[in-house]
């Protein structure tokens, strides 16, 4: 980022190559809309270009980058909610935010078929509430520490950890409900029954 700030366009090219896919994945799973994710990803990097002149190395570039992406996504979600007059009722999966695990001892799965399981994983992830989903994505996929996630989301670190626990519990329950064991193996009907 410092090289690009000094006027080296190749430095920005490296940044794009390194972060564009993770940002796009984060935005895609955060918004669950590919077109919106593309636009937001584009806007995020354009914001980087515009704001690069005044950028100061007070934090990791990744933290700053995902802060931009997350804020853009949140703002757009708010606009969409206002336009569509979506009901403020929680999504149907909210009732399953209970941290109680579906299965206390999931059986290991060594022969999971990624192609078959991934849609279910995506569905389980999308079933998480946005605040839990963004914390899970930022920690699990982006690799931010809880303290950094707290900065990105603007929430206390303990809140971030709580949301992470809830997210993991919800995913465990969602995966169990979709017939996926703790290790990705589809559980047998017997094991699926609590």
């Amino acid at each position: 980022m410092l090289r690009f700030q000094a006027g080296d366009p190749r430095a920005f090219e490296e940044l794009v190559h390194r972060h564009r896919t993770p940002v796009f994945s984060f935005l895609l799973r955060l918004t669950t809309d590919r077109a919106r994710a593309e636009d937001l990803c584009q806007d995020t990097f354009l914001r980087v270009v515009k704001a690069s002149a005044g950028w100061e190395r007070r934090a990791r570039f990744t933290t700053w980058l995902y802060t931009l992406a997350r804020n853009l996504a949140v703002d757009e979600a708010r606009r969409l909610v206002f336009r569509r007059a979506q009901p403020l009722d929680p999504p149907p999966s909210a009732e399953r935010e209970s941290p109680e695990p579906v299965s206390d001892d999931p059986a290991p799965d060594r022969a999971a078929d990624a192609v078959l399981i991934r849609p279910k994983l995506e569905a389980a992830l999308s079933a998480l509430p946005p605040e839990q989903r963004e914390v899970f994505l930022l920690r699990e996929h982006v690799g931010l520490r809880f303290a950094e996630i707290a900065k990105v989301t603007g929430t206390p670190e303990n809140t971030v950890k709580s949301r992470m626990r809830y997210a993991l519990a919800a995913l465990r329950a969602e995966l169990a409900a979709r017939g996926i064991g703790p290790d990705g193996e589809e559980p047998t009907p017997q094991s699926a029954v609590p």
């Binding site: 690009f4 700030q5 000094a6 006027g7 080296d8 366009p9 920005f12 090219e13 794009v16 564009r20 896919t21 993770p22 940002v23 796009f24 994945s25 895609l28 799973r29 593309e38 990803c41 584009q42 990097f45 354009l46 270009v49 515009k50 690069s52 002149a53 695990p101 206390d104 001892d105 999931p106 290991p108 799965d109 999971a112 990624a114 399981i117 991934r118 994983l121 995506e122 389980a124 992830l125 920690r139 699990e140 996929h141 520490r145 809880f146 950890k161 992470m164 626990r165 993991l168 519990a169 995913l171 465990r172 995966l175 996926i180 064991g181 703790p182 290790d183 990705g184």
Partner: protein
């Protein structure tokens, strides 16, 4: 113990993601050894993470990346340190500077071309020298000569005298060269004040002053010669006479005087820088002779003769040569140097008496002729129109104009001329 268990349970997430410090991690691991509930919780966390691990990143679409890179290049280009002047601005600045230099040089050259010429023109000199100078102060002495400084400072007439101007460092000019070549110049001539309409440059001042003083000196000498035999009075107390012709000469010569005035004025205009000093008449004759003319009447022949005769400097002789047929007498008037100033011939031509008076200039050329025959007086100044006194019916016969040179009047080469005198 319960508090400790709750604290450890809170730290399970940090332990699962590797964010727990070494001491805390070791303490938690020791707790896990004895706490099955915490071990089960940690196992669930790790199992869920493992279950979600196949969920890899979604590749970003290729489209849009070119736009981002283009925007980045544009921003980087705008962020690069720019030179002080862009190439276009640099070329424009150089062009404007060149135009400004050319304009300044042209303006300077144009301004220099509008200045008047350094050397005074002839007409300017005549016009400035023409005013009659008032008499200078009697106290003006050659000791007042301040040389070039006074002339350059545009000093008044009282401060400038001939001696001063003679000592001045004048710029070279043809007229001054003639003046220098004139012999008998009096360096200590009395000052003759001159008035100037405006203060010209120093060099021009000196030239005009010299011209005016020379004229005044010439006139003074002529009038002194005509007035009386005694030496001329103090010129400082004598007003400067007109430049063109001396009044006594005109009075003496009658109609020839007016003719001389006109010819003299024309000669002055034609030869603007002619010098009139103590030898003014001679110098003027030189200048006019150089111009191909026989010489003006007023200063050359008639006036010179009158002046010399009034001064008693003429000697009347009779030529030794034989007289022409019909010629009764021949009389020569020569100056102190033996130069013929006037030749008078008398006799009878065509049954009527005649008298021819030929006036010669200092250079020995014929300057004027006065021919009287049959009661008519005809005069002719060479270089001017023939004028008659009583009647202008007949021109002067050619034989009466001989000899043309004064030297011939002394010898046998006189052309008798008249076919039947």
């Amino acid at each position: 113990m319960a508090t400790s268990h709750h604290t450890f349970r809170e730290e399970l997430l940090d332990l699962a993601y590797g964010e727990l410090g070494g001491r805390s991690a070791r303490a938690l691991r020791r707790h896990l050894c004895g706490c099955a509930e915490c071990r089960a919780e940690l196992a669930r966390i790790e199992a869920t993470r493992k279950a979600m691990s196949p969920l890899g990143p979604q590749p970003a679409p290729a489209r849009g990346e070119a736009i981002l890179l283009a925007a980045a290049r544009e921003a980087a280009r705008a962020r690069r340190p720019r030179p002080l002047l862009s190439p276009f601005a640099f070329r424009a600045s150089v062009g404007l500077l060149a135009i400004a230099v050319v304009a300044v040089v042209s303006f300077r050259l144009a301004g220099r071309g509008e200045h008047p010429p350094l050397g005074p023109s002839g007409t300017e000199l005549v016009g400035l020298a023409a005013p009659v100078a008032p008499p200078s102060a009697p106290g003006a002495t050659p000791s007042e000569a301040g040389g070039k400084d006074e002339a350059a400072a545009g000093a008044g007439p009282e401060k400038t005298g001939p001696a001063t101007r003679a000592a001045g460092n004048l710029a070279p000019s043809p007229a001054r060269a003639v003046a220098k070549a004139a012999p008998g110049r009096e360096p200590s001539a009395p000052p003759a004040a001159t008035g100037f309409a405006r203060p010209p440059p120093p060099e021009r001042d000196e030239a005009k002053e010299r011209t005016a003083v020379a004229d005044a000196e010439a006139e003074r000498t002529a009038r002194a010669d005509l007035a009386a035999a005694p030496p001329p009075p103090a010129p400082a107390a004598e007003p400067a006479p007109p430049l063109v012709s001396s009044a006594p000469a005109r009075a003496e010569e009658g109609p020839a005087g007016a003719e001389a005035d006109r010819a003299g004025a024309a000669a002055k205009l034609a030869a603007p820088r002619q010098e009139i000093g103590p030898e003014g008449a001679r110098v003027r004759e030189k200048a006019e002779l150089a111009g191909g003319r026989a010489g003006p009447v007023e200063e050359g022949a008639v006036a010179r003769h009158a002046r010399l005769r009034a001064a008693g400097r003429l000697r009347v002789t009779s030529p030794s040569a034989a007289l022409c047929p019909g010629e009764a007498a021949r009389e020569l008037e020569v100056d102190e140097q033996g130069r013929v100033v006037k030749l008078t011939r008398r006799g009878t031509a065509g049954g009527s008496p005649f008298q021819v008076e030929l006036f010669y200039g200092r250079e020995g050329t014929l300057g004027a002729v006065r021919y009287q025959a049959g009661g008519a007086v005809r005069e002719r100044a060479f270089g001017g129109e023939e004028a008659t006194g009583a009647s202008a019916a007949a021109p002067i016969p050619p034989w009466a104009l001989e000899p043309r040179r004064a030297a011939d009047a002394l010898g046998e080469n006189l052309h008798c001329g008249p076919p039947s005198p």
